[in-house]
């Protein structure tokens, strides 16, 4: 929104496809599938279809960038912050399903824009977006795009900071009250109700705050406390170094998942980690064992929901949620005590003097 508004688009004219749902896929994506082995990419057909065929007011531009790298708090501490190749190529791949008999975009009067963009390289982004969008926006100048990109990053930073602040508040409350919370270790698209199926909401309803690894607070005091000993011992170079557990640190979300497991293992009040993974995610598969081992060896409870696809397995989720909450009721207090005993003194989440 920050970028598009700065480019002069009226925010009322910017439309996002709605949350993923089975209905969306059936109604708008049927017969246009080009991908079967990655559920989140497969969903894109329904999103495109909704934007092309399902709007009261016709759209004139459909923007779906091919994102090569992601901005990450681990950037500079890991080898690369690449997106999954399937996600990066997704826009071109899914587009093919809309060109089968005729060009569905052109038929609907829509210009399809898919600029290639390296979001973790802010100096490159204005050039990439300018090249990718100038055909559709003939009056656009490089300077305008540079200003718009700056506004986009500013909005993104503000959004991330707001959520990390909330995460810190939750952790401080847990520390003050000695209460457990849960952390979800998953990919960002699992926050979409049609992909992650809001499984964590069912656990939240039992009275447990839920943190997501993407928005974990990364304040210097907390990071120094959590990782300071490992840095002094020479295991890692910085709080965001994951070389001790994951050396092929090329994939941005995979890196963050591994880091999430590490930080969850170190925070006493995170009594349980929930792992979500979608159907046939090749990027996730090699991470299952390390993530589980890192979490469980700290004494933290670990539960995973794998191979999620379009259907919410409501019955089995209910049984699993009852199991998870049973374990939490029974063991959370002792897990917190044990993790506190292993943690260094002076936790910044606690009020001074505690």
């Amino acid at each position: 929104m920050g970028l598009l508004q700065e480019l002069g688009f009226d925010p009322r004219n910017i439309v996002f496809s709605s949350d993923t749902s089975e209905e969306q896929g059936r109604q708008f994506g049927k017969g246009r599938g080009t991908v079967d082995c990655c559920y989140p990419v497969k969903c894109m057909s329904g999103h495109y279809g909704e934007l092309v065929f399902g709007q009261k007011q016709k759209l004139d531009l459909l923007l779906s960038p091919m994102i090569y790298t992601l901005p990450s708090f681990l950037s500079g501490h890991v080898a690369k912050t690449l997106t999954c190749p399937r996600v990066m190529a997704g826009p071109e791949n899914i587009k093919a399903g809309f060109l089968k008999e005729s060009d569905a975009f052109a038929d609907a009067g829509i210009t399809y824009l898919t600029p290639f963009v390296s979001l973790d390289e802010p100096l490159l982004v204005p050039k990439q977006l300018f090249e990718g969008m100038k055909g559709a926006l003939p009056d656009l100048t490089r300077e305008e795009m540079a200003r718009a990109v700056a506004a986009g990053y500013k909005a993104l930073t503000a959004f991330n900071e707001k959520l990390r602040k909330k995460g810190r508040e939750v952790l401080e409350w847990c520390a003050r009250e000695d209460r457990p919370c849960l952390m979800v270790v998953a990919r960002p698209y699992h926050m979409d109700p049609g992909i992650g199926h809001e499984i964590e909401v069912d656990i939240q309803a039992y009275g447990y705050p839920i943190l997501w690894m993407q928005y974990f607070p990364i304040d210097a005091d907390l990071m120094d406390w959590a990782f300071g000993d490992d840095i002094k011992a020479g295991y890692i170079k910085s709080p965001f170094d994951i070389n001790d557990v994951w050396q092929s640190s090329y994939s941005s979300n995979t890196n963050e998942i591994l880091w999430g497991a590490k930080v969850a293992a170190r925070i006493p009040w995170i009594a349980c980690v929930i792992r979500l993974s979608s159907y046939e995610c090749g990027m996730d598969q090699p991470t299952y064992t390390p993530v589980q081992q890192i979490v469980e060896r700290s004494g933290t409870l670990f539960f995973s929901f794998q191979d999620l696809d379009s259907t919410k397995p409501a019955g089995s989720v209910k049984i699993r949620v009852e199991t998870i909450t049973h374990y939490l009721e029974r063991y959370a207090a002792s897990i917190i005590e044990r993790k506190k005993a292993m943690a260094p003194p002076g936790c910044p989440l606690l009020p001074p003097g505690k």
Partner: protein
Amino acid sequence: MISGNSCPKGLVEDVNEMRVVKAKLEEVKREYPNVAEMVRKDAFRRVSAAAVTE
């Protein structure tokens, strides 16, 4: 017969009971936040006309 195997909303018999159940669920959600709820509320959402005029 399968009993006790329904979500809280599925167990109610009229709209007033549903309101009570819903209010309780909302209260728990407020008290025990979920960071993803904030993301779902704010990210990738169309701006309303009211928000633009503010």
